[in-house]
Structure formats: structure tokens, C-alpha cells
Amino acid sequence: MSKISRFFKRFYLGFILVFLYVPIIVLIVQSFNAGKSRAKWEGFSFHWYQELFKSVSIMNALQVTITVAVIAMIVSTILGTLAAIGIYSMKKRQQSIMMTLTNLPNTMPDIVTGISLMLLFIFTKVDRGYFTMLLAHITFDTPYVILSVMPKLKQMNKHTYEAALDLGATPGYALLHVLIPECRQGIVTGAMLAFTLSLDDFTISYFTTSPLVQNLSTLIYSATRRGIEPTLNALSALMFIALLVLLLIVNRRTKESD
């Protein structure tokens, strides 16, 4: 490959990456700005980081976001893994019906999912709040878990399970010691996907919770009307860095296990 074309390709990718990263860099820089203005730099300070930990509403929203994400991740991973194993052992026709059902939420836009759940809660006269938001998150997380476990089950050698049974394992033992370890990677991917989707969700949470129980996204949304505080920038900078560190640790560990 010629040097010019290589340079051009690198330049192009760099350009796209700059486009993707500029707002994030702006956001992180703003979080260290002493003043409240978005445009004017008034000196470096940790002021907004101190404010962040004093803000009750942000801390509450953080608590809601993280607990919902963790509980939704656990429930949807269990529900989804069991469902994937179940669907995998179904007959062809049943299997395709179940997979269509699983793909349905992905083909529905978020706003419709959110509204349909809101209508369900209104119709059944359930007060919207923490619990309904959690139900909604489990609902949109589970199909993603199934979609990440299913391929691993399909890749698996079918006879391994039968061999375990022939060698005297009970179905339950074979399930725990053959099937689940075989699709462990898919389960982990699914769980992580569920966690991040739930952490970042705005639209569905917005329709399924009340203004009294807010997660970070709905809090930010209601803050945009009043003018956004740099404390939220500080928070997102911290979360961003936390996720980066997590990624580096996971990367290091997978490299070691290779």
C-alpha cells in the first residue's frame, strides 16, 4: 500500500474519531471550570466535584440508576439464560416463534416500548416509580441476553451433553457442569450488555417512572429545562473514567487468561 493512501486512511479515521470525541473532551474540560459558564474558562477547580457529592438529587439518581442496572442485569441474565436453553431445546417451529418474539422488542422503537409499558401501568393502575422502571428495564434487557447466549449454544457440540448423560450425569448436573460453562462467554457478554443498556437508558425510563423517582438520564433531561449544572458534567466524567478503568482491568485479565 502506498504511503499516501495509508496516510489518507489514518487521517480519515482520525477525523471521525475527533468528531466522536470532541463533545466528550469539552464536557470533561467544563467539569474543571471554576465558573458556571459553558463558554468562558474561569480557572481550574474541583468545585463541581465537591458540589457533586453534596447534591442529594444527583446522589439519589445515581443510587437509582446503579441499583436498577444491577438488579435488572441479574434478573434478566437468569431469565434470559434459562430461556435460551429452553428455546434451544425446543422443536424448530416453536423455536422460530420464540425467536420472533425475542426480536420483537428490538424492532420496536424505544419510545413505543416506553409508551406501551406506561399504558400497561396506567391501565392496571400501578403507580409508576422505582418498581415499574425496574420491570421495564428487565423487559428490554432480557432479549439481548438471549441473543448473546443463543449463538454460543448453537456453536456447542450437541453430543457433549449427551455424552455427559451417558456417563451417568443427571440432567441437572449436566446442565450446571456442561451447558452453562459452554455458554459462559455468551452469558457474560449478555450481562454486560444488559448492564450498560440499563445504565444508559433514557426513553423507556422516562415513560415508566414518576418525576419523584429519577435515574440519571431523566434527571439530566429535567435539568436541561432549567439549565444544566456543571455537577452533572463532573459526574459523567467520573463515570466515564470508572468505565475506562473497568475496561482496562477486564482487558488485562482476559490477556492473562489467554
Binding site: 463533545p23 459553558r38 429452553g86 440432567p171 426513553t203 459523567s236
Partner: protein
Amino acid sequence: MRYNVSLPWWAYAVMGLGLAVFIGLVGLSIRRNHGIKRSLFSAPYTMWMILFTILPCILIAYYAFTDTAGNFTLDNFRTFWDSNSEMKKLVGEEYAASIPRGTVNVDTLVYSLWMAFLCTVISLLLGYPAALFMADRQMKLGASIVVLFVIPMWMNFLLRTIAWMSLLEDNGLINMMLNAMGFKSVRLMYNSGAVLLGMVYNYLPFMVFPIYTSLSKQNPSLHEAAADLGCSPMQTLTKVTMPLSLPGVISGITMVFMPSVTTFFIPRVLGGGNTMMFGDLIESKFLTEGNWNGGSALSLIMMLLILISLSILRKADPNGEGSGIV
């Protein structure tokens, strides 16, 4: 903090009954097969989906075809087509002629579809070369480049969109730079261009990933074979690489087009109320007007449009090869 977990009594009854039925079925099958029948494992999920996906969809249809009293009506769709028909009823027939036959809803729908179309085309034009260069084996970029594209998506998308405000504002960073270079300030915010920028910014990775996946799955010897048979690099690209990446492109188009038709946060923040998109309209029908019947009709129309466009796209990718997300 106290969470509201009050449910009506029958909700607990339904849940309890569901659990009892499930345990009973599992117990029965253990007896019969000396082990749990594995296809039953998906029973809790099936119940969950019926309760929280299928039933809510039926409810949307129910609300769309009824009025506030619960009687069957098609008025919600009539109002969609002619948004002033409500007003006409109020003022009576003789003044009806003075009210313009407005079709605000249809205009909004057409505008949203146009914006989503533009967003998809721009994302494809920007994203395809990016995916192509990322998958280029001679560039030796490896998987780390994918991570670089994923990382920005970890920042809350609302905050990322808001961050664009500080760049685009009248006294924002871009205008400050323009002023410093001696140019006049440009009005960048609160117009369709800003909304489009926000949409492309948010959805571009959804275009790049599926295309990258389908490109990097391609067997490199195919390209070598094409070159051996006399293809120029350009011909190899247009006759081998591109057609083979079609499933990825289709998947990317779906993943960009769908959320961009329905977004309501981006036009609110970057359009500042000057631009109304279909997602906006639905949200305000439900939460501002409290008109669930009208809002449901709009949602139903949108769902139908998306289902139609998806089935057209499926035709082009019958095996669903491009459907892999990661």
C-alpha cells in the same frame, strides 16, 4: 429513600399464580422424565414477554381505536390526517370553512422521515469508508480501533448531546474560534442542521459496527482471487467487497434509521422547539396533552411504518446475516 412499590392485590395474586403454575409444571415434568424437561426453562420468559411486551402492544392498539369513554372510534386516525377536525367540531359547521385544513401531524411525520433519511445517508457515507479502513488488514489496526469507537458511547447520550450546545451556541466554542479568525458569528443552533448533526453524531457508531463486522468476516483470499483475475483495486472494492458487505449495510441502515425517526431528545435540545419530530409529537400527546388515544394512534402509525420499512429491508437480506449487533 423510599420507593413506591404499592401494587394492587391482584397483581400479587397473578404473580403468585404464575409462579405456582410454573413450579407445578416443572414438578410434573420431573416426575415424567426423571429430569426437568428443558424446553420448560423458557416458560418464565414467555410469561414475562406476554405480560410486558405483547399485552402492552395490544393496549396501544386498544387505545388507538377507542375514545376516552372506551367506545370504538376511528377519530384518532382522522385527527392524525386532519389535525383541525377537533376544532371544527367545536365551532360548528358554518365556521368550519374559516379553519385551515391543517395537517400538522402529517407534516411532522414527513419532516421526521426526511430527517431520518438524511441522517441515514450521511451516516452511511461517513461510516462506510471508516468501517472499510478499520477492517483493512494492511492497516494493522486490530481490535483496539473498535474499542475506540465504543468508548464515546459510554458517556450518557443526553450529556453528549448537550455538550454540542456549548460548541454550537451563539457565543460557543466554534463561534469564538470564528471570531478569533476574524469571521462573523454564525447561528448554528436551533435549526434542522443542528438536529441533523446531533443525530449523525449519536447514531454513526451504529452504522460503523455492523458494516465493520461484515467486512472483517470476509475471506481475504477472495480479494486476492479478484486481483489475480485482473480486477483493479477499485473493481475489487465495487464488485467483491461492497456486495458482500450488503448485510452489514442493511443492518446499519436499520439501526440508524429507526432511532432517528423516533428521537425526541435531540430535536428538543439542539432544535430548541423550532423543529418538531414525530417522537416529540407522540411524547407531547401523551405527557403534555394527556391524550392517550391520539398518542396511541400516532404510535401505531409509526410502528406500522417501521414494520413496513423493516420488511422491505429484510427482502434485501433474507438470511438475516447482518443482524449480529456486536
